[in-house]
């Protein structure tokens, strides 16, 4: 009866109640969404590189090295000379090594110079290999393999020509030496999707007549360049696999202490942890802000119930007259707060999943952020339970006020 009356009373004020539920639901969806994006981002990052034991580059910060080599974020401060690379490759603990040469771009997408071994060694999401949607690996100096997003965003088909720009955001183009699309990769949900892959020789070839940021000396044509020695002079970084997992730390130390050149080797997992340490503050701030939004919405609900008490004095007096204890009045108001919070939590979940279904493809293609749509897990359920509990606790304020009112009013209220 109490529950039925509470529901009737709520539906009687449905506009205010619905608005309150909606506002709270939005805040719940925001809060859960932030949590989803956070865990999604972590999973996305963690899924990007797998099976790589060490990443080596010029000495800088380990997070910076990880970001520019694997995530194509930021750029290298320095290069590794080809001689150093050869020395690393010759170390006994090194099972395989894949060079990465970054620095150029194509219409906003990074161009990566590498070897064919890249397609064998690069693994993502727990050991999955790159697969070709169309075409094949580069067979020629001027062949390019496109990530799925590059091909889709720019509408490229096999055989199309690509002009590589010098640098990340520049207006000088290697337009004398166009590349040809030789292959298009399957979607991976990693930065590979947004990368143009070419051979190391291709990178060397387009820079053969360049010095620094400008063309220098007599132009060398694409045909002429084929006859030249295209061994690179430097690369940006290298992915390394070790012969035995036990050798990882020894190899890391050996690279870090390499005498000819200051180098840095990082374990991707460790560098990721360091990255989380850095972004943890921002994450906490974001979670804090969204928690405040939830708190604001719940306080708004409390204010709504409180404001409604004035015109519900009559209701309270009737209930008291038929024998309801002040405690029953308190129970009704707490129940009201609990029901609103519960409805808000449920609607919040609906909004969250609705939003995810709509935004997931966009987040994936635009930010490479793949958020899996899974049923709410333990954390989400705990968060929702905490929200409902807090909402009910907020209901204590109007409930206690109603308690005092119903004691003081007696049967005096006639309006």
């Amino acid at each position: 009866m109490i529950l039925r009356l509470t529901l009737r009373s709520l539906t009687n004020r449905w506009i205010t109640v619905a608005l309150t539920i909606f506002a709270t639901a939005l805040s719940v969806a925001l809060f859960l969404g932030v949590e989803k994006v956070r865990t999604g981002a972590r999973a996305s990052f963690a899924n990007t590189v797998s099976g790589v034991d060490l990443i080596a580059g010029a000495r800088s910060g380990s997070v910076q090295l990880l970001l520019y080599s694997v995530f194509r974020i930021g750029s290298a401060t320095n290069n590794i000379t080809w001689e150093s690379y050869q020395d690393l490759a010759a170390l006994p603990a090194v099972d395989w090594i894949v060079p990465l040469s970054l620095g150029d771009s194509h219409r906003g997408f990074r161009v990566l110079g590498t070897t064919e071994a890249y397609f064998d060694r690069y693994k993502y999401r727990g050991g999955r290999s790159l697969a070709f949607a169309e075409g094949e690996r580069f067979g020629d100096i001027f062949d390019a393999v496109l990530g799925a997003d590059v091909a889709r965003a720019l509408g490229y088909r096999l055989g199309d020509e690509i002009i590589v720009a010098h640098g990340i955001a520049s207006f000088s183009y290697h337009d004398d030496k166009p590349f040809r699309v030789a292959g298009i990769l399957e979607k991976t949900g990693t930065p590979v999707d947004r990368t143009v892959h070419v051979s190391l020789e291709g990178i060397e070839a387009i820079h053969v007549d360049w010095q620094g940021g400008a063309r220098l000396g007599p132009a060398i044509s694409a045909e002429e360049v084929r006859t030249m020695d295209l061994t690179p002079k430097a690369i940006t970084a290298a992915m390394i696999g070790v012969t035995s997992k036990l050798a990882v730390f020894r190899l890391q130390r050996a690279i870090n202490e390499y005498p000819e050149e200051p180098l840095l080797a990082v374990l991707p997992g460790v560098a990721l942890q360091e990255l989380w340490g850095l972004v943890g503050v921002a994450e906490t701030a974001l979670a804090g802000v969204s928690a405040m939004v939830v708190a604001t919405a719940l306080l708004g609900m409390g204010a709504m119930i409180l404001a409604g008490l004035g015109e519900r004095r009559r209701e309270m007096a009737i209930l008291r007259a038929v024998g309801a204890r002040p405690r029953t009045v308190v129970t009704m108001l707490l129940l009201e707060a609990a029901l609103i919070s519960l409805a808000a939590a449920a609607l919040g979940l609906v909004l969250l999943y609705g939003g995810l279904v709509i935004l997931q493809p966009w987040l994936d293609t635009t930010y490479g952020l793949y958020i899996s749509i899974a049923p709410p897990g333990g954390t989400e359920i705990a968060i929702l339970a905490a929200i409902v509990a807090t909402g009910t606790a907020v209901g204590l304020v109007p409930a206690l006020r109603a308690y005092r009112m119903s004691l003081a009013d007696g049967m005096r209220v006639t309006q």
Binding site: M1, I2, R4, L5, R8, S9, T11, N12, R314, E315, A317, I318, L319, R320, A321, V322, G323, A324, R325, P326, R327, T328, L407, A408, G410, M411, R412, T414, Q415
Partner: protein, 243 residues
């Protein structure tokens, strides 16, 4: 010596529905409105009319009789048992079980149906609910029909869709369901016109008699007093003070 004095002297209070002696109550907080009832005895089954102008402490008097507030001094007994001396929640329970209360107007929860409004006291009074038995809705329906309400008006429609006169009759049905001992009515006819008032009163008397309940009705309209067993001026039984 008036009969009240005999009772007051400690002779059995059996047969009395309401018995107040030396009761004094002051509202807490600002205003300091206080009322004292040296002596009041109402027999079971009696129909008593209390009249007094507004501001004479009618609502406070009824709050005291219904146990919504308790006197700071003195005592009020109900059906021969202590009442005002009980704790607040015990008084609430006694009120639920033994009282039916009819207000001046706005008696009903506007969002509930008339039937639900009639059944409301049973949610707080298990014994009263047991007296009604399993066929609660049928009993509510019976009372509403006896009070002249059309069947279709009361079953599903929200209570605030009913006319004022209909709402007052639903309130009577609510007060009487499960045959309470005492019905307290606070100016139940003031919102009705004369014709409706007389019809309402005769229905009220009829149903109160059928339930065997005691009726205490308060009104400023002294013209209604003739219909009752006894008519008391509020000023004679209670003294009001304002600090």
């Amino acid at each position: 010596m008036p009969p009240e004095a005999e009772l007051h002297g400690g002779v059995a209070t059996a047969g009395l529905a309401i018995h107040a002696h030396d009761a004094r109550f002051t509202w807490p907080g600002a205003g300091r409105f206080s009322i004292s009832i040296p002596h009041l005895a109402i027999k079971a089954g009696e129909r008593v009319f209390l009249h007094g102008p507004s501001g004479s402490g009618k609502s406070t008097m009824l709050s005291l009789l219904a146990g919504i507030v308790a006197p700071q001094a003195g005592e009020i007994e109900i059906m021969g048992a202590p009442f005002s001396a009980l704790s607040g929640s015990k008084r609430d329970r006694v009120r639920a079980e033994r009282f039916g209360i009819i207000f001046q107007m706005f008696n009903l929860l506007p969002y509930a149906s008339a039937i639900d409004n009639v059944l409301l006291p049973l949610a707080f009074a298990p014994e009263r609910a047991a007296r009604v038995g399993r066929a609660r809705v049928a009993e509510a329906q019976r009372l509403l029909t006896a009070l002249g309400l059309p069947r279709d008006a009361v079953e599903t429609a929200r209570a605030d869709r009913l006319s004022v006169g209909q709402q007052q009759r639903v309130a009577v049905a609510r007060a009487l369901i499960g045959t309470p001992d005492i019905v307290i009515a606070d100016e139940p006819t003031s919102a009705l016109d004369t014709g409706a008032r007389d019809a309402f009163l005769s229905l009220l008397f009829e149903q109160v008699a059928a339930a065997g309940a005691t009726l205490v009705m308060v009104s400023h309209d002294t013209g209604l007093g003739a219909e009752f067993d006894r008519s008391l001026a509020l000023g004679d039984i209670a003294q009001v003070e304002r600090a």
